[in-house]
Symmetry: C2
Subunit: 451 residues, 2 copies
Amino acid sequence: MATPQVTSRILRRLLASGVTGRAERLLGRMAPSDVALLLPELTPDEIRAVIELLFRQRRAALALRELPNEMLPLVYDALADQRLAAVIGRLEIDDLLEFVEFIPEDRRDSVIERLPEDKREELRKAELYSESSAGRVMTTSFIALDQKMRAQEAIDSLREVGDGSEAVLYLYVIDEQTTLVGVVPLRRLVASPPDRLISEIMIPDPVSVSADDDQEEVANLVARFDLLAVPVTDVDGRMLGLITVDDVIDVITEEATEDMYHLAGLTEADRVFVPAHESIRKRLPWMFLNLATCFAAAWVVGLFERTIEQVVALAIFMPVVAGMGGNGGTQSLTVITRAIALGEIEFSSAFRAVMKELAVGLVLGIAMGICSAGIAYLWHADPIIGVALFSAMILTLSVAGLMGAAVPLALKALKQDPALGAGVIVTTFTDAFAFFSFLGIATLLMDRVVS
Amino acid sequence: MATPQVTSRILRRLLASGVTGRAERLLGRMAPSDVALLLPELTPDEIRAVIELLFRQRRAALALRELPNEMLPLVYDALADQRLAAVIGRLEIDDLLEFVEFIPEDRRDSVIERLPEDKREELRKAELYSESSAGRVMTTSFIALDQKMRAQEAIDSLREVGDGSEAVLYLYVIDEQTTLVGVVPLRRLVASPPDRLISEIMIPDPVSVSADDDQEEVANLVARFDLLAVPVTDVDGRMLGLITVDDVIDVITEEATEDMYHLAGLTEADRVFVPAHESIRKRLPWMFLNLATCFAAAWVVGLFERTIEQVVALAIFMPVVAGMGGNGGTQSLTVITRAIALGEIEFSSAFRAVMKELAVGLVLGIAMGICSAGIAYLWHADPIIGVALFSAMILTLSVAGLMGAAVPLALKALKQDPALGAGVIVTTFTDAFAFFSFLGIATLLMDRVVS
C-alpha cells in the first residue's frame, strides 16, 4: 500500500490536470480509511474536489466516518451547507450525532435544516438521551424476526434486504409490542435446518442494555461476554436499536484516552496534531490550577522558613520526600482508576482496595525511609535530617497510598469521573503533606535538641 | 442477576449439603463470565467442586476463559495436573497459550505432557512466534471455501460444521496452495442468490496481517477498518489462522493498561486485588529507581547550598518550578504516548509533533512565568526571586515539552516500548533542570548584585 504522501501526490497531479476519471478510479480502489488518511495532506480546494468525486460514488459518508474528529473542520470548511447535509445525511444515526457536534455553531442549524426529514426526526430523538449514554451510540436499523418464521424464511427475508446493513450479525426476535424476546446469531441461523422454527433456534432473554445505561458499562459488558452487538431497549423492554462491536471498540479507546488525559491534566480534544494555539488554550486552565496547587505547597514550605534558615541542608532533601510521595500516589491512583474503568471494583470491595494500597504504601515507606535516611546520613552526617527523612517517608508514602486509592473511589461514589482532577488532588495533597511532615518533624527534633 | 456474593452463598449451601444436582443446574443457568466472577468468592475445596461440575457440562474451559489472569493460580491450585490438562485442552490455541504461561513452572511440563497430542503440537508451533505478535493471539480454526463453490453449497457446508466455531463471521477463500485469495462475509453469503459463484461474491485481496506483526498494530488495523476478524498469513500469503474482534478488544484493553501502568511506573500484573506482598515486590524496583532519580535532583539542589543559605526564600519557590515542569512534561508525554499507541503519528510527522510540544511549552512557560513571578514578588518583594522564577519557568516548561515529546518517540525509534520508563526519564530530567535553572539563575543574579 502506497503511503498517503505518495498517493496524495499522484491524486494531486490527476486533479490538477483535470483527469477526474482517473482520480475517481484511484479513489474507488482505496479503502475509506485510507481516503481519510489522505485528506489532511490536501488543500481545501483539493479536498472539495475529492469529496465531490467520493460523493458521486456515494462513498463520501464512509470516508468521513473514518476521519479523526479533529480533521472534520477541514472537510466542513470545504463544503457548502447543502452539500454537507447531503453527505452526512447518508450516515447512520450514531455517526450522524457525532458529526453534528463538530459543525461550527453558526452553520449547525442551517445544515440540520437541510437534512432529509427522517434523519432530522431521528436526530431529534437521539438528542433526548444524555451524553455518553447507550442511546447516543446505538444505531436504530436492525433486522427483526417473528418467532413463528422458519429458518429458510428468515434467510430469504435477509436476501431481500440485501447486503450493507452493519446490523446483520444477530437477528432480533420481537413480539407484537416490539418487545425483545430473543436473538438469533446469523451463524446459528445459517447452520440450522431450513424448516426449523425461529422460536426453536433463538436464544431467549438475551443480554440487553437500556438506552440510559452508561456507554462505558455497555462496552465492559460486550467485552466480558465476547458479543458482536448488544440490543438496546427502553424501560418496557421494547427494542430501540443496537450497539455494534466496532462502536464498542471506539468507546473503549476513547474512555482509555479520557482516563489517561484526565490523570495527566489534559482535555480530550487536545490531540497530537491539533494546532498549537488550540492546545495552549486547552492546557492553560489546567496549568493555572496546577500553579495554584504548587503555591499551596510553597506556602507549606514557607511555614518552616526559620527551620530551613538553621539547617539549609533540609532544602536539599525536600525534593526526595515530595518526589517519592508523588510517585507512590500516582501508582495507587493508576491501579484504582484502571480497575474502576474495567469494572473490576465494586462498592463492596472498595474498602478492601483502599486498605491494601495503604498497607503497600506503609511497607514501601519503611523500605524507602531506611534507604533514604541511610544515604542522607552518609552524605550530611546530620541525625536530625536522617530521622526526619525516615519518618516523613513512611508517613508520606502511607498517605499517598491512601489518597491515591480513596480519591478516585470517592469521585466515583459522587458520580463524578474518577480520573478527572484526581491527579491534581492527589499530587497537591502528597506534596504539601511531604513538606509538612519532613520540615515539621525536623522542627520538632531541633526544638528538642536546642531545649 | 443476583450478585456474586448471593449466588456464592446459595452455591455453597448446595455443595455443603451434597445436592450437586441443583448446584449443577444453577451453574448451568449462569453465563461463563458470571461463573468466573463467582470463583474468587469460594474456598479451594469449593472451587474444585465447581470445576468438577462445570467439567461434566464441558463448560469449565469457557468459565476459565472469562477469569481475570490474576485468578488463574487459584484454579490451578485446586486441580491435579491430569484434570487441568483436560480442562485447558478444550481451549482454542490463543487462549491455551495464555493459560500455559500462568501454570507454575514446576508443574508446566507435566501439564503440557498430559495435553492431547494435537494441542501439544499446536502449542509447539505457536510458541515459535515472538511474544505479542499476531501469531500468538490468532486462532487456527477457520472455515475455508473454494472459489468454484456456489453460495448454496457454502451454506450447506456450514450446516455440516454446525454452530459453535467462533470463526464463522467471515469465510475465507483459499486456492490449492492454501493461499488466501478472498473473503466472504457471512452476511453477504446469506444475502446472495443460491447459485452465485463464490468467486463472484468474495472480496478479493482482503486485508490480512502477517503472523509476525505486532498485535497492537493488528488491533489498530481492525479498529480502523471496523473488521470483525482479520486473517493471518505467512510470508508466502498462505492462510494460517485468524484474529477475531473479541481478541482485539482484549489487546486494546491490555495495551491501554500497559501504557498507563508504564507511565506511572508499574508492572502490569500489579492489579487491584493482587495480594499486597505481590504488589510490594513488583513496585519495589520502580521505587528504588525513583529514589535514585530523586537523589539526583537533590544533588543538583546541593550544588547551590551556598545560594540558598543567602536567600532561604529560594527554597520556598523550588517546588513551584519543579511542580510545573513535572506537570508540563507529563502532559506532552501523555499526548505523544497515546498518539503512538493509536498509530496517529509516523516518523515523517514526529519532528512536527516535537516542535509543536516545544512551542506549546514555551508559550505556557511565558504565561506561568509572568504569573508566578508576580505572585512571588507580591509575597517576598525580592526582584532576584521574581526574575529567576520567570526565566526558570520559561526554560523548564520548554524543556518539559521537548523531552515529553522526544523521549517516547526516541524509545519507539529504538524499538522499545514508548511508555516504559519514559515517565521516570522525563520527570527526573525536568526536576533536575528546574532546580538547576532556578537556583543557577538566582546565583548569577546575586553575584551580579554583589559585585
